[in-house]
Symmetry: C2
Subunit: 338 residues, 2 copies
């Protein structure tokens, strides 16, 4: 969809005005769930997921036929500060790898029966170094948000993923600005920096936060000052999904930081999202806890690309299949508990 | 396959003589994994799973094309002692529901792209009440084990599941006999008994253990005295998979108790198994800990039928897809960390 606002100042009020899930569909789904041939509650969280899907899809028979994984790539000025184990050129190299089908997310998308789209965002123009300037100008932020909105097409479930050398540093700064705490609370080893690299990352995060100070009080401005194009695009895509009532599976630390902008901008704005996994980057667990989200998987991933969320797609598909396909006690002629 | 032993006494030595995974394939898979286009270890446990699959499938390019879910059903003499929230007739009714496609496992199997077979085992002849007699005679045990062996056909991944009113009680008694501890440690609410029902279950478990005493020192005899046909069939099927080097995803408390017989009979006999999930029945978490197994999912399920393991099939398929399908750094022209 097209971004329905002309400036970032209009983003928050637009977001706050979006409708919630379909309450009638949710109620009907919960009633149906209670009649299915299993002991009450025996499918645990799978039942909650199915009812949640029902609400957002507006039917008591939800299904997932057209999942979309949209991966956004961006480059970061702070990469020059030695915050990553990999050179910045890897962002574009990995985009080529996505196009050729050789990356993890290609295999995971195919395994999950999901469509994969890849969106490189001005890779030859890194964002500004946020220790010196806002990472993005207002037009750059709007373009990145619009790229996210535009990516949400023809899907009944959305995963957003990212690729961007140095973007755990940007995500750490953004998460710290949004959630509070100290830079070290949010800064981890990313793709695998050593102790000196970790110290550099933490220092870069601290300097970014100090540099922009009061401007960070607004979540959307925090995104502009500290984020990156791929992060802002994920924020936009998750917002677009909310507007279209498309449920979203959140991926790792960076995608969740992008999502947290929305929750801070308009509480409840992530009601259409579930946390696909909790990753190995320590800030991710802290961020999910701060958002009140419990992950579906905990497998020690720290890759990004949408990988952890892609692994969770079959869980949601299975949840929908149980609610929509199981027989009731009456239909199956099975005795209920006395 | 046909059970390759004529009496239950021959089961343990046969089991102890089975070969392990293909070490060369495992080594080749680990080497390949290290060259793939991702930071080292960034797929976390997914990498371990892929290498494990490679060892059992005997190739550094594992794949899961023919997963099989075999569900066994049996009835239990102890059901007459009021240990379940549901009447014993539900076992056969649910088998009919499986045949008609209306149960949770039907939806989960289809969603996972798995073949589902259902094996009702003498439902009109419950096992003996183990508070008074051994649950099974030697011929009954052998028949149930053989049913498990026979069920393992044409598959590259196996899930075993069960249906049997009162079988959490049998599994609790079996787990207690195998692993030690007190009856209350292993007894839970199953499909949902109230406090009085839980007290009855715990008492039945304690009486069964007291009744059979020294006979329970042998894991296979513990299975005969306290188990049930569907439990013994799962034990047999998991053993048959081991002989065929077919990897297995363990399901819930009852399936894991069936598996624990093998580990106690021949340590290492479950090296071809992974725990698909940890369920809500408290004994399951304890049992997995005792077996040294970490579950892939923790979603609060307590249904059985193979449901939790079925939900984990796509995770293994995705792990195999990453190892087998990803490009190496050299193939993709992506720079490695310095």
């Amino acid at each position: 969809m097209t971004a329905p606002f002309a400036s970032s100042q209009e983003f928050r009020p637009w977001l706050a005005g979006l409708p919630g899930p379909d309450a009638a569909a949710r109620t009907a789904a919960a009633a149906r769930n209670g009649m299915l041939t299993k002991p009450p509650g025996a499918l645990g969280r799978i039942e909650d997921l199915a009812i949640w899907l029902a609400g957002w899809q507006g039917t008591d028979r939800p299904r997932i036929d057209r999942p979309l994984i949209a991966v956004f790539a961006g480059n970061h000025g702070i990469a020059a500060r030695g915050v990553s184990a990999f050179p910045a050129a890897v962002t574009a190299q990995m985009v080529a790898n996505f196009a050729a089908g050789g990356a993890a997310i290609n295999q995971l998308a195919r395994a999950a029966g999901a469509r994969l789209t890849v969106h490189p965002l001005s890779l030859d123009r890194p964002t500004a170094d946020f220790t010196e300037h806002p990472a993005m100008t207002e037009p750059e932020l709007m373009a990145a948000l619009a790229a996210g909105f535009a990516a949400v097409t023809d899907c009944d479930l959305l995963v957003v993923g990212e690729m961007g050398i140095a973007n755990t540093t940007a995500a750490a700064a953004l998460a710290c600005a949004l959630m509070g705490g100290a830079p070290a609370d949010w800064t981890g080893r990313g793709t695998g920096v050593d102790d000196a690299g970790l110290a550099r990352k933490t220092d870069v995060v601290a300097r970014g936060l100090a540099r922009h100070g009061a401007a960070l009080a607004c979540p959307v401005q925090a995104l502009r000052h500290l984020g990156g194009r791929e992060i802002a695009a994920m924020t936009g895509a998750i917002a677009a999904a909310r507007a279209a009532r498309v449920p979203v599976i959140l991926d790792g630390f960076i995608a969740t930081a992008a999502a947290a902008v929305l929750e801070r901008a308009a509480p409840g704005a992530l009601d259409h999202c579930v946390a696909g996994h909790v990753g190995a980057e320590p800030g991710h667990r802290r961020l999910l806890a701060g958002l009140g989200m419990g992950p579906l998987l905990d497998l020690g991933l720290r890759l990004g690309e949408g990988s952890g969320a892609a692994l969770a797609i079959p869980i949601l598909r299975a949840a929908a299949a149980c609610l929509s396909g199981m027989a009731t006690f009456a239909e199956a002629g099975v005795a209920t508990a006395p």
